[in-house]
Symmetry: C2
Subunit: 209 residues, 2 copies
């Protein structure tokens, strides 16, 4: 069975960087935004549109006028569901293809039958705000309050996507094999240990992943 | 500053074994029941009495008759509080003495000023029941229901002891640096990775703890 590491994370905790660095250390591919590119390429959706569904969730694009909910926007919602289904199928295919690290997108639930090492990355609110501030481009600088709102919105939408794929409580420790607190830590300092954890987990300490 | 690893755990998750094996791998002392021995030796309390307070908490020894709460048993409670205070002082001293692993006893909160690596060990209910069943002596075999009750009672009392020392929510991931799910795993298979995690955490990957 393929050895798969899934990275679930709180927004701003450094989960994306951790996934990429861990895959480099293990010598396996990392799938993160690459999945958006695959959906775009294989199904013809616009990349920004797909990314927006990931960040804002399905409901955010419902029309505000309830009376119109099942008229003009039904097609819009249908298309969004198609994106979610396409994403699920791509993740299933990636899981069958070979050893890999997959960041986000409920891959831990979608690939549960392949017994992945399910890592959850989290951090204190202060640490997450600091990380977001440092990585934000000048053009998209948000105030701390705006940033906190954005973090809350994204985490909420991620949790809703867990509901959609039938996952258990998003962020509850029982849903993961290892929960890593990155508060005040440089991600790269934790990578040798996490790579070793993956090797121990899959029963090959000292060998490949 | 000394490098201290604290192990908090759910009853039956294998936290005690994990702490002992990790301390062996790191080449530092492990303090677990040794702390009970120290309290016994230094303060003259009976070892079983001290162990019982650890397992049953302070309140379990309150008299059932409320009217007598502040008469005959006040002294009993006072003595129990003395045990808790003695334990805290011993843990503070151990933290000052040198690198070590400390299992349970709210050491993560008591030694927070020394910035320990705070590990939380947990497992699924089925896995914990299975572990308890395997390690129980023939003479103290409990039914699954009795065992579940015991697990709940001990976890509840541990959480109450956190309240007593002023710790945050016991078991909440924000209170720990690393949360390890031992469900279905042999503890010893995880030790090389956890030892590496401790070394990475303290910034000495490849060296001593």
């Amino acid at each position: 069975m393929n050895k798969i590491v899934t990275i679930s994370r709180e927004f701003g905790s450094g989960g994306r960087e951790l996934g990429k660095r861990l895959s480099d250390a293990l010598g396996v591919p990392c799938y993160d935004n690459e999945i958006i590119e695959m959906i775009t390429k294989e199904h013809g959706f616009d990349a920004d549109y797909v990314a927006q569904i990931s960040e804002s969730g399905l409901k955010a694009m419902y029309p505000l006028t309830i009376g119109r909910r099942f008229s003009t926007s039904y097609t819009g919602l249908e298309q969004q569901v198609q994106v979610v289904v396409a994403q699920r199928k791509i993740i299933e295919r990636l899981g069958e293809q070979g050893d890999c690290v997959i960041v986000g997108r409920c891959a831990d639930v979608i690939l549960a039958h392949l017994k992945p090492l399910r890592v959850f990355v989290y951090a204190s609110q202060a640490s997450k705000l600091d990380r977001c501030r440092k990585r934000a481009a000048e053009s998209e600088r948000l105030t701390p309050l705006e940033m906190e709102r954005r973090m809350r919105r994204i985490d909420k939408n991620r949790a809703e996507q867990y509901d959609l794929v039938g996952g258990a409580d998003c962020g509850a420790r029982g849903s993961y094999d290892l929960c890593v607190n990155t508060s005040g830590k440089e991600i790269k300092t934790l990578i040798p240990a996490l790579a070793e954890y993956a090797r121990c987990w899959f029963g090959e300490s000292g060998g490949g992943i």
